[in-house]
Amino acid sequence: MKMHAKYMGLDLNSPIIVSACTLSEQTDNIVRMEDNGAGAVVLFSLFEEQIRHEEAKFKSVMSETSYAFAEALDYFPDLDEFNMGTDEYLEHIRKAKERVNIPIIGSLNGITNEGWIDYSKMMEQAGADAIEINIFFIPGDITMSTSEVEHRYLNIISNIKQTVKIPVAVKLNPYFSAMGNMSLRMKNAGADGLVFFNRFYQPDFDINELVLKTDLHYSESSEIRLPLLWIALLYNKVKLSLAATTGVQSAVEVIKYILAGADVVMTASSLYKNGIPYLKTMNKELQDWMYMMGFDNLEAFRGSMSQQNISDPTAYERANYIKILDKAK
């Protein structure tokens, strides 16, 4: 049985990819991910703010403690210049590439046009096989128009693509007025793949302390419906690699996403909950299902439940919604 998958031109041994998460902060974990059958690993995100913040924090700590008192002209060993967040990240890519054969995908998370190009280039030089950019932008400024928001995305993509040769995937949020058209424009700007979707910050309130709650919860399998819809809608309509990344708790969600048309499926929360070896379980369950269903390879069923491949494509659009409402009555 062939589990081989292709994602943005990269050959993978499995369609199951580890999405950007803190588990990949340790090289040993990445090795374990490979050992347990991960098709690739998207490294934890290097946040634009983190880079800036870290650099600023370091500079201010170092400068605010230097040359202030005769006995202690400074407090830290001078190991030339400390590597900042970027250097650390690049070193991590290098180390990971030394130890595993599966593709390593660098992840950048930012909102502005600055800095991306440098960081992407450095990731490529460090050996990343691809880059996933997570444009984490909430247009809270109500004077900003739809087209301005869209242009920001497209500019970032085209700037990066002019700099690097490795494939670039864009992790999206689902709230574009015209997601389909936006996907096309992103492809035209140079994107090689789309990742559905990022789970951006959605605040909650603590009504006793009257403060914002900022805790993050793991995605749940019930959250797969929105990405499932869009993957199914865009499959074969946009010539891009499609990746799904929300609510993957088991092989069931993996299967659903591939049925919708995803080239690869990403998961992190299942690994937080069950440990890295759970990748092996998911792969096995996927294989078992394929065996049971008589599919010899992924292509045999990829996209079979997409909008194009079912008899009533409009079901995906409006009618399906009406059906659901009817059922709920």
Binding site: V61, S66, A70, E71, Y75, F76, K95, D118
Partner: protein, 1191 residues
């Protein structure tokens, strides 16, 4: 490295010496001590980076627990054949003395590099003189003195070679806090040059003498009267040969480098009549002055002593011209009671011997003098005064120069206006605030000019005595010739004021030459700035015809994306204005330097800096000022009129920066100073201060509790007091029950605030309609300053609340106790001082403090002002610092006195029972002194007793009077940091704990040597990086608590006031109440941890929550009651260690320099935390009988 290529560097003397020491040794055993620490730190850093010595190996750098330990390790490594060195100073050298005798007695080649420093006598001093090396002159070590940064470099090699050749160990020393810290341009020795000076045979010979079981021998025997004496005489030949060997090495060195040195280096007129003999950096000053005097027709000369031990008669006689009539021997040391200072006596003895042997015809007139103790300035004017003195028929012997000794009249007067021709130098003075980037930028300037042009450069940096809000003055000289001027600038061509508020406070323009440039970083533009200056500043500008320039560096920095970093901007101004280089050239150089510095950061950062340079030039304006003074002359009052006379006459002079002018008669004779003087020094170092919101405040007292500088104080009082209050005095009805008609005020001493923000962070109350508005918030000081001054005065007139009515057991109650530790010079946000303040609040009026040297002794006892204070009854903490290593023993001695004198007092009381009355005596003897009300009563009884005794003349009565104070229970506390408790003082601490005496030890545990700049201690946790653990600490942190618990009768607590203030309070009270030894380990967040200290409390919380710092108490009293004495006060860890640790640079840095090691260490550290917690939990659930019983 090319053999013939001249390597140029601009570095300080410490680096210059360490550069060679590291390359020529295999082992460095180290321990930090100012001002030598840098040498050891560099060795450790180089080793961490894998830098190799000249034999291609990375030296093994071993930090020890003390200098005594370092010397022992050096001895062991030497005895087994390693080339071994160490670096030290002052008290450190004192601790090495015993081993030095051994090393020398065994004829073992080694070099100890010493940044010579004062010894602690009537007071400690970190500054330079020769007291330490002079105390080591009897060890048998040879002594080689270098006078400059270049010589510190060269002599490090000469010493190494000479020691290997002669087998005599050498102290290579240079002046601490002059040569050690002076940045100067020098020619570096290449590795090939160094290698060529050390023949392999010498190394092999050293190794072959090492202990080796393959051909064993015994060394270090015990010898008896029959042969010890003869054994001591065996070394004579080696010492006799030593001067010749050193001379030979110096000649070889000269042949290689062109730099020629002599054992006694004579310069001056061949027919000189008056000669100064001197050792150390002062020789440079004498040399330059002597040449100027000779140019004016005088006949003077100078002998600089390079090799002080062995002291070579032959070479000295050769150096002194026959024409000499009088000689002054200048010693930078003091030997009280001696016939003269050491070098004076050496010269005298040598010349007398020479006369007796007929080597000289006549004994010149010889006088000795002292100069430069504790880095006291030694200037050309002083040198001239000495030469002038020698003109006299009977010049003064045993003179001092540089001070005014109006008691024993030893001092020579000198003409302060005398200076040398400084016209070839460009001299700049830069006034900045500690850590504002001024010093760093100036060091960079020296590098740029020194290493990229033919000009010579010199930099020296002066810091004040505070750890927060300290002022720095950078002294920079540039010139076409080597700059040999180891003294401060007094006539500057360029003066820069980097902080506008200095205009009022600092007399900067006293140092301006006529026509000098004066650059001000000013928020006011060129048209407005004149009106913002005081009358005296305007007058100086006009009188000295200064060129005044302004730049709003803060705005330029902000506009160019470099907010808060004015260093590049001010540096650019200097390059543009100083005339050191042509302007265009200068700007080119600065841009080149920027490119070099930031090449790793990418073009964007470089462009940003370039933009700042260009914007600087565009915003730098010359001020066209009127030629008459328009502002009032503002006489700056240093202290309030209410200050005591001592403070007005002496302390205030020091505060004003004129301490050099104080004569001997004004000095306390034995180092005794009045307590509580920080209250007179209103430093006003923070523009932002806490503002109290009475309507929101819940009066919890947390802010007062955590304030490191005792700036926030609380009182409650009858509301009628408010009738006399000025407008703006804030008050609120007290929210405690049972206090009718009572109001509460939280007063902020705004002039003493350092702006640390801890009070705001800890405040739990906020405005429900605006959560960002708390009950205390930081706000601008300026608009409220005058009102608050009046409010503080009013607040001070409200009496402190009656201690017997306050609940000491709660944080809320503790806020009403008067702090007797206030306004220290500790860092803003210090994590140690809240413990000391609380200590002073709880037990201050009967507190004895033995304070180990370290941060707490510096902010606790560094003049001019000190924070341990006195209450209205004249009582307060009595504080003293002995040394670093002996504090536990020192404090134990205090306890023994208290116990002994109490015993005597009781005995006399019984003897005088009839005279004093039985009831009174019994009352005093049987008084329970636990509660504050009981202590207050005992105070009254003892007061009454003393009054009675004063009327009695019998011997027992007088004896009782002299010890009666001990009848009030003394609280003896031994305080210090982890460097003391875990390392250097551990043996004594362990012994004091084992003594069973009623002492209380508080370890202010920052987990690092904070005072000397962040070196690793045995408290430094696994996975943290520190100096001497640059590669991350792999060993575990010592569990001092468990070690103390093993005794069974020691009260032990581990506390963290930021995590659980109530537990801290409880532990301190339990420890004090326990009649036996107590140990409190107090988590102290610190600047050396590497984060903004406003987050200190949050990090303390995380330290506890992660299990890194479990809170516990071990109370032997419970064991006695058959209860489990081990109480865990914190809950099971709720977060991973990394989530606490990686908020701090000390941990984080390793993830950036060596992520794999960091990860491994962090995992290991987590395992240790887990294990520790498991063990603690087990202990906490055991039965009383599982613990050591109390006898």
């Amino acid at each position: 490295m090319s053999k013939n290529k001249k390597l140029i560097a601009t570095i300080d003397g410490n680096e210059a010496a360490a550069y060679v020491a590291y390359r020529t040794n295999e082992v460095c055993a180290i321990y930090p001590i100012t001002p030598s620490s840098t040498m050891a730190e560099l060795a450790d850093e180089w080793a961490a980076k894998g830098l190799k010595n000249i034999w291609g190996a990375v030296p093994d750098i071993m930090e020890m627990q003390s200098e005594a330990g370092a010397a022992g390790t050096v001895h062991g490594a030497l005895q087994t054949g390693s080339l071994t060195t160490t670096f030290t100073a002052s008290q450190g050298l004192m601790l090495m003395l015993p081993n030095m005798y051994k090393i020398a007695g065994e004829l073992t080649p080694a070099v100890f590099h010493v940044a010579a420093r004062s010894l602690a006598a009537q007071g400690l001093s970190i500054f330079g003189d020769h007291q330490d090396v002079m105390a080591a002159r009897t060890t048998g070590f040879a002594m080689l003195s270098s006078v400059s940064v270049q010589e510190a470099h060269d002599f490090a090699l000469i010493a190494q070679v000479a020691s290997l050749k002669s087998r005599i160990p050498i102290i290579h020393f240079f002046d601490g806090f002059r040569t050690s810290h002076e940045v100067n341009k020098l020619a570096l020795l290449s590795d090939e040059q160094i290698r060529s000076m050390i023949p392999d045979e010498l190394v092999f010979a050293h190794r072959s003498r090492g202990l080796n079981p393959e051909h064993p021998f015994i060394r270090g025997t015990a010898q008896n009267p029959d042969i010890y004496f003869q054994g001591r005489e065996t070394v004579n030949t080696f010492y006799n040969n030593m001067p010749g060997i050193v001379e030979e090495v110096m000649n070889d060195f000269a042949a290689m480098t062109g730099r020629k040195y002599d054992l006694f280096q004579y310069t001056g007129a061949p027919d000189a009549e008056r000669v100064i003999i001197i050792m150390g950096s002062g020789g440079e000053t004498v040399d330059e002055t002597m040449q100027a005097l000779n140019a004016a027709g005088e006949k003077t000369g100078l002998v600089q002593v390079r090799l002080y031990r062995p002291f070579s008669l032959e070479h000295l006689i050769k150096a002194i011209p026959a024409s000499v009539k009088s000689i002054a021997i200048l010693d930078r040391t003091k030997e009280s009671g001696a016939a003269g200072e050491p070098m004076y006596q050496d010269v005298l003895a040598t010349l007398v011997e020479a006369l007796q042997k007929g080597l000289i015809k006549k004994l010149p007139n010889l006088v000795g003098g002292r100069y430069g103790l504790s880095s006291k300035e030694f200037t050309p004017a002083m040198v001239k005064a000495v030469y002038d003195e020698l003109k006299k028929e009977h010049p003064k012997n045993g003179f001092t120069i540089g001070i005014n000794d109006d008691v024993t009249h030893t001092s020579l007067s000198y003409d302060t206006s005398f200076t040398l021709d400084e016209s070839t130098w460009r001299q700049g003075l830069f006034f900045g605030l500690g850590a504002d980037g001024t010093v760093g930028a100036n060091k960079n300037t020296i590098k740029i000019i020194g290493e990229n042009t033919d000009l010579f450069a010199q930099g020296y940096f002066v810091y004040d005595s505070k750890k927060s809000g300290a002022r720095t003055v950078s002294h920079l000289r540039f010139g076409p010739n080597p700059i040999r001027a180891p003294y401060l600038i007094t006539k500057a061509d360029f003066i820069a004021c980097h902080q506008f508020n200095f205009i009022e406070k600092v007399e900067m323009l006293d140092f301006a030459k006529e026509g000098a440039s004066f650059l001000i970083n000013s928020p006011y533009d060129k048209n407005e700035v004149w009106s913002k200056m005081t009358g005296q500043v305007q007058k100086s500008i006009i009188d000295k015809k200064l060129k005044v320039f302004v730049i709003d560096a803060t705005s330029v920095a902000r506009d160019t994306g470099m907010t808060g970093r004015i260093n590049t901007i001010m540096q650019t101004c200097y390059f543009a204005l100083s005339g050191v280089l042509p302007r265009e050239d200068a700007i080119k150089q600065i841009k080149k330097a920027i490119e070099k510095s930031y090449s790793r950061k990418g073009q964007k950062v470089i462009d940003q800096n370039f933009k700042a340079v260009d914007a600087t030039l565009a915003n730098l304006y010359e001020v066209d000022y009127p030629k008459k003074v328009s502002a009032a002359v503002n006489v700056l009052k240093i202290v309030s009129d209410k200050a005591p006379d001592f403070v007005k006459d002496i302390t205030a002079v020091m505060m004003a920066g004129h301490g050099d002018d104080l004569p001997v008669s004004k000095m306390p004779i034995d180092g005794t100073y009045p307590s509580g003087t920080t209250q007179w020094e209103k430093r006003n170092i923070s523009d932002l201060v806490p503002l109290w919101e009475p309507d929101l405040c819940i009066q919890c007292g947390n802010c007062a509790y955590v304030c490191p500088h005792s700036v926030i104080r609380a009182k409650f009082y009858h509301k009628d007091y408010l009738e006399k209050a000025a407008d703006g005095f804030k008050s609120a009805p007290i929210n405690a029950r049972g206090f009718p008609e009572t109001n509460y005020t939280l007063q902020v001493y705004v002039e003493d605030c350092t702006g640390c923000n801890l009070c705001v962070e800890v405040c739990p109350a906020s405005d429900p309609s605006n959560r960002s508005r708390k009950a205390i918030n930081m706000g601008e000081k300026e608009p409220i300053l005058e009102t608050e001054k009046k409010n503080i005065e009013f607040f001070e007139n409200i009496p402190w609340n009656d201690r017997s009515k306050i609940d000491f057991s709660t944080v809320h109650g503790a806020q009403f106790l008067e702090p007797l530790f206030e306004f220290s010079g500790a860092c803003a946000g210090c994590g140690e001082t809240p413990y000391l303040k609380l200590l002073s609040q709880l037990f201050g009026d009967r507190l004895l403090v033995a304070n180990a040297t370290g941060c707490s002794s510096i902010y606790g006892g560094n003049l001019p002002t000190t924070p341990w204070a006195v209450n209205k009854d004249g009582r307060g903490p009595a504080w003293s610092n002995s040394l670093f290593e002996d504090n536990a023993e020192f404090g134990l001695g205090m306890r023994i006195t208290a116990d002994k004198q109490l015993g005597s007092a009781k005995q006399y009381l019984l003897e005088l029972k009839n005279e004093l009355g039985e009831a009174q005596v019994d009352e005093i003897l049987n008084a329970k002194q636990v509660l504050e009300s009981e202590l207050a009563l005992q105070h009254l009884r003892v007061q009454k007793l003393k009054e009675q005794l004063r009327t009695m003349s019998s011997s027992p009565a007088q004896h009782l009077l002299s010890v009666a104070d001990q009848l009030v229970r003394r609280s003896v506390w031994l305080i210090g940091g982890d460097g003391w408790a875990y390392d250097i003082g551990y043996g004594g601490l362990d012994h004091a704990l084992a003594s069973g005496r009623n002492i209380n030890i508080m370890v202010l545990d920052t987990e690092v040597y904070s005072n000397t700049g962040g070196q690793s201690s045995k408290s430094t946790p696994t996975a943290a990086t520190a100096k001497f653990a640059a590669g991350g600490k792999s060993g575990g942190k010592k569990d001092l608590a468990m070690q103390a618990i093993s005794y069974g009768n020691v009260y032990v607590a581990r506390v963290a006031f930021g995590a659980n203030p109530q537990q801290t309070l409880l532990a301190m009270r339990e420890a004090e109440a326990y009649d036996g030894p107590s140990l409190i380990l107090a988590y102290s967040h610190c600047i050396a941890h590497g984060y903004d200290l406003k987050d200190g409390l949050s990090q303390q919380n995380k330290a506890v929550a992660s299990g890194h710092w479990p809170l516990l108490r071990y109370n032997p009293v419970l064991r006695k009651k058959n209860q489990n004495p081990f109480v865990l006060d914190s809950t099971r860890p709720t977060m991973a260690l990394r989530d606490y640790a990686y908020n701090e640079l000390r941990y984080k840095v390793l993830t950036m320099t060596n992520p794999e090691v960091a990860e491994n260490l962090m995992q290991h550290a987590q395992e240790l935390v887990n294990l520790k917690w498991k063990n603690y939990e087990e202990l906490a659930t055991k039965k009383a009988s599982d613990f050591v019983p109390i006898g």
